[in-house]
Symmetry: C2
Subunit: 368 residues, 2 copies
Amino acid sequence: MTPTNLLLEAFNCTTYPLGGHGKRNIHVLKQVLGQLDDSLESDNYGTGPVIEDFQQKIANILGKESAVFFPSGTMAQQIALRIWCDQKGVKKVAYHPLSHLEIHEEDGLKELHGIEPILLADKSRVIHLEDVLNMPEDVACLLLELPQREIGGQLPEYDELVAISTYCREKGIKLQLDGARLFEVLPYYQKTAAEICELFDSVYVSFYKGIGGIAGAILAGDEAFTKESKVWKRRHGGDLISLYPYILSADYYFDQRMNHFAKYYEEAKELAGLYNQCHGVTTRPVVPVSNMFHVHYPLPKAQLEPILVSIYEETGIGLTHYLREVDETSCYYEVSIGDRYAGVPKAQLKQAFDLLNAKMKEAQLAGK
Amino acid sequence: MTPTNLLLEAFNCTTYPLGGHGKRNIHVLKQVLGQLDDSLESDNYGTGPVIEDFQQKIANILGKESAVFFPSGTMAQQIALRIWCDQKGVKKVAYHPLSHLEIHEEDGLKELHGIEPILLADKSRVIHLEDVLNMPEDVACLLLELPQREIGGQLPEYDELVAISTYCREKGIKLQLDGARLFEVLPYYQKTAAEICELFDSVYVSFYKGIGGIAGAILAGDEAFTKESKVWKRRHGGDLISLYPYILSADYYFDQRMNHFAKYYEEAKELAGLYNQCHGVTTRPVVPVSNMFHVHYPLPKAQLEPILVSIYEETGIGLTHYLREVDETSCYYEVSIGDRYAGVPKAQLKQAFDLLNAKMKEAQLAGK
């Protein structure tokens, strides 16, 4: 048995895991279907009220003409970039070096679409206006991810977004929003989804991150764009006879949680504060701008694991189920606040962080 | 309101629709989930017992080393062909001119994978050994669809399959089975799934046709092949965080219906017989070799529709919800036998076909 499994097992035994909405078991889907009449008819290859009504609802919320439901964001975003490339006749796009497209999709964009990405900024920070001003002008599309997940969920300021959007429109470069966690950043920006999406030509949003659905994504834009995206959806094998398990759960949990993101954001700031008070521990960003952040430790993974396990066992609080190595002397994990956090007793939370602080101090002293 | 809607509406009001298992509403999924404990955990990006156990179960049934669950057959088959093309270094495959890949996928194989298809046989018949012997030898893969759906579900004889398989193996041409309706043809062949699949290097089967699940497909082959298919599944955007709504329903309805296909096949022959006794009406094939067949009428669509509507209203029997034009003087529809047929009272069935016969006679006399 590997040490990672010990951490996971200890985490699974805690009474109060701090992140997320709850376990990803089939109750999540049963809960949705239980509210609905048995006779509700399936969607049928992209048609029918179940899919069409939800697409229109989200299009309205994003302030776009039209929207298409996809099984995944991977599929939706490759297709968005392909459409903009075809329109301009240039197979080149720009995005962040830690974009989902670059590190989690087995090079689908290159292998399936023959599109070459230009990587903007470096791995330590978000894309800024200056990066955009300096990029080759012959790219068909610039993709921005808000927030930039792999660096803890960081954001450019709204004014900078406006400047980037203005520049791209002047230069005829399309702007695609990777809004996997768009609803999560609205409380920071103090903007509506439509106000953010207005800056972009096309938008992808996800329904199983902050929303907590089963899977699935929406791609939105103007009518011509979404119409073409349906052709590509079929080519990709994503135009399923029935997508309703994803659509119905997306709709249900969207309604349930769309007004909770400000609370998650406040809670993320509170929890990050608790982490940052612990010896040697830092969050990234230091002050979260959404419901998420990363927690960095100046300890080797193998050394941190037993510390966390002992805290879980003593307090019933679960901080993380995994650790990712940065290098031999440090590691980190991601935290995303959901429904669970509000139910955690403050006294136990304080106890866990007092313990973490003490143990980190001890570990660092011992290491000197 | 179009005449097509009148037919559909009349069909939806019938007590005894003859085809299929039942309505495609959310009861189909609720029924499955209702049998399962709420705490059953989701699959997670292709891992976890829910997906791994089902993959192994179907691999065993197909007699293949390994299997991968896909959201769709469109995705699974493009990927199978791509893998075989890459392995041979030739971007050329062969299949029937009415293959799903050729007519229902918006040219995904060409647009995403740059693969050129060689079309074998003509639209009126299945691929025979002679077609295979005469095809260019530099194709990477030959795809055979059993049964050939778009011509009513026709089959080559088993001995001919063996001869095709032997030839392809000699020539180093991979053989892919489009087995969307594989389980449906086993009673005709009097073979197990594994005995048929043994002739092929890779196999796709579907879970929402005869099986009656929600959606989803399995692609099976040897370990190296399925491992590579997972990489392409991710590239296509099909490696979802959760595929369990499809997997659990595939598993449930597979267990429920896998032993019913012989019955469906017998019923299809019976029903085709009733059609063929009607004036001017012919089925294709005349004697079905699976649970499916097409019904052809020597009447224009607009003339047949009111005839069908009147039969539905008088007898409560629903023959079809749509008509497809062949040309200005003839039309057809597809019939697939499922659970419903066994529950239809024989007397009402006879009444409907007596009526159909009489009305067809009348219509054809009037037309002369």
